[in-house]
Amino acid sequence: MPDLPEQSSRTRWAGEVRARLAGLKLSPTREAEIVSELSDHLDDHWRERIAAGASTDEATHATLALFRDGDFLARYMAPLRQSNATPPPVPGRRTGSMLADLRQDVRYALRANWKRPALALAAIFTLALGIGANSAIFTVVRAVLLRPLPYPSPDRLTMLWTHNPRQGYDKDVSTYPNFADWRRQSASFEGLAAYIESDYTLTEAGDPAHISAALVTPGFFETLGVAPAYGRTFGARDAAAGERVAVLGHGLWQTRFGGDPAIVGGSVMLNGVSHEVAGVMPAGFGHPDAAQLWTPLAPSGRFADLMQARGSYWLQVIGRLTPGIARGDAQAEMDRIATALERQYPETNAGIGVRIVPMHEEIVGDVRQPLLILFGAAAFVLLIACANVANLLLARAASRRKELAIRAALGAGRGRLLRQLLMESLVLAVAGGAAGLLLAWWGIQALPSLAPSTLPRLTDIRIDGLVILYTTLASITTALVFGAGPALRDAAAAAGTSLKERGQAESASRGRRLRSVVATLEIAVALVLVIGAGLLVRSFIKLNSEDLGFDPRRVLAVRIHLPAARYAERPQIAGFYDDFVSRLRALPGVESVGLASSVQRGSSPPSLPWRVGLRCRATSAICRSATTRSRPTSSRPSGFRCGAAGCSPMQMGPRRRSPWSSTSCSSGGSFQTMIHWASV
């Protein structure tokens, strides 16, 4: 028997098998296995034939006859899964499909980050804090500053303020007669309405509750462009008939009346007086912000006297510009009307002008700058986070040099390496962004309890598609910011060095320089933030340590609303409070009790809910000269006016409105106790 070398016979059979497997998409490994297996079969057969006495040619012929003529092997193999395998990825080599390249890059990125869990987690945590803070602030900015007001054509909605530069009032509330003249004489507005914030005691459907409300002129809802969800709003007839009709807010309707549409046409008890429920406003409507229900401003109601007084400033005015009328043109017209009124009523309207301010600017104006500053600070925090992560990646570079050199040796170009390294950064940034969005969501949930009461549109703050898009873009940008430097450096190093690690010292030196630059940038940004934070803390401490003129410790304030139906006369009111105060004084633990009220010009009892608090130390002439008409900055008293009855505080009005001074009747105990305003 011819003694053929094993290798040469198997090599021959391998060639025969391989030729019959052409055209199949076998993986190289699998093809090698099949070739080996079939070659063994053919070789075993050939050797048996030789052992049986056949010649080499006969044995070879008989062995090759095990194959049928034609491409049967390929044909029978074709339906099998292994014959249609996806070729394995070759690191660095293009697959010819952008999507396939992208999938490959993502797989490598995930694997690379998975191998270094500590670094990945540290980076994700750091980025989550930075991106989360940005997303949270952007959510607030989006809702407060960017989102338009929830009214039709919100750009045409305006606030009209009284403007008196001679007295130093840039924006003041209006008087009813002035408002009526504006409405009558102006053609620039398709609707003008006025309102005053107030409150009621609701004694319907559950425990008595204090309800924030607004008294509005006819056309208020039409000016805003919002129709009721159920029923109707007020007309001129309702105002003429008095205040005894109400429109409920959606929230109040849900919580107190079970969301039952049948309440329309029914009645509710407000301040002990029955009011017909005319309608219910839709969800999301709320102007002014705190109002839970609305009643008409009636000439015969509690503000009757004020509605006649041209010199009594108490109303806020809204207006909707007529389509096609520019704000500048409307301002010019209102200036002419104001000049005419000045001539007509020199005693009350001397120097009085009108200022038109877009409603959106009015609502968000006070918070725009602080929010934008906060946004900037959050951006700085993110920059610091990026610098931190960049430093981590730079420090990691040394351990990856060989891996990248191998990839370069296998055919990955510099661009491909750069793309793969940036993809690793992007994976970290996306994970950080997702975690950051979760942190932002938690922060937004806590916002109602943490945010200052002066933050407008609080109920509009929520994470929506734009916030998610912003977070995504922030993540991508962050990946580029912190990933580009290390990626460029590593890709260049891998492409420029061989597996023999030539130039390692030079590469390490470059890395240290880059880390120094990043660290310097990080310190600079952090310093700016620390200085800014320090200034804010100093302002906060100063504000909190300001001498209020009284000691607010151990003082409680109580606001009482007496129903007008039962306490219409002064003796009734005085009797109630005498009894109330004496009962409070009898309580153990109560050191002193006092109360104060304020009487405005005219004889009508005031019903504006002003907050007042003070405690003058005994026997001290604490009075400071009152300063009237200052722009409110807080809800704290800012000064006092002293009269025969004693010292009374300057009460601060609701936000965005200027206060005015008034005399106050004070009880004997009011100078030992901080008291709250009681409407009488």
């Binding site: 019959r20 296995e33 099949i34 080996s36 297996e37 079939l38 063994d40 079969h41 053919l42 075993d44 057969h45 095990l66 194959f67 049928r68 049967f72 092997l73 029978y76 193999m77 339906p79 099998l80 899964r81 292994q82």
Partner: protein, 117 residues
């Protein structure tokens, strides 16, 4: 029976019983492809012959179904070979195929066996 009919019958019967043959031979013990080919030829008295280009695709198909499992085995002084063995699924399939085949054969015998005009 003519040659053409014999060849046609041979082809059809082989096609229907190929899986049963392979599974039943592997039931006893693991075997490699050449061993299977020889056994089939020997035990059938030469009536059944598997070409290499149909035997191995069949083995790979059974492997992809999970009825058999192949593994390379290297024994001392022997070349590395790929041995196949039945999986638990393969055993269940074999039992089912045996039942089916036996029922078929009995039915054919009842129809054709011992009854001449």
């Amino acid at each position: 029976m003519s040659d053409i009919n014999t060849r046609a019958l041979d082809r059809e019967l082989k096609r229907g019983s190929a899986e049963l043959l392979i599974l039943s031979l592997l039931d006893a013990r693991p075997r490699h492809g050449y061993d299977l080919s020889k056994l089939i030829h020997q035990r059938s008295g030469g009536d059944l012959t598997f070409h290499i280009d149909s035997l191995y695709p069949l083995l790979y198909r059974l492997e992809e179904r999970g009825w058999i499992k192949g593994a390379w085995v290297e024994k001392p002084d022997e070349r590395r070979r790929r041995f196949y063995k039945l999986t638990p699924t393969g055993r269940r399939v074999l039992a089912e195929q045996r039942r089916t085949w036996n029922a078929f054969v009995r039915a054919v015998r009842r129809v054709t066996g011992g009854q001449h005009a």
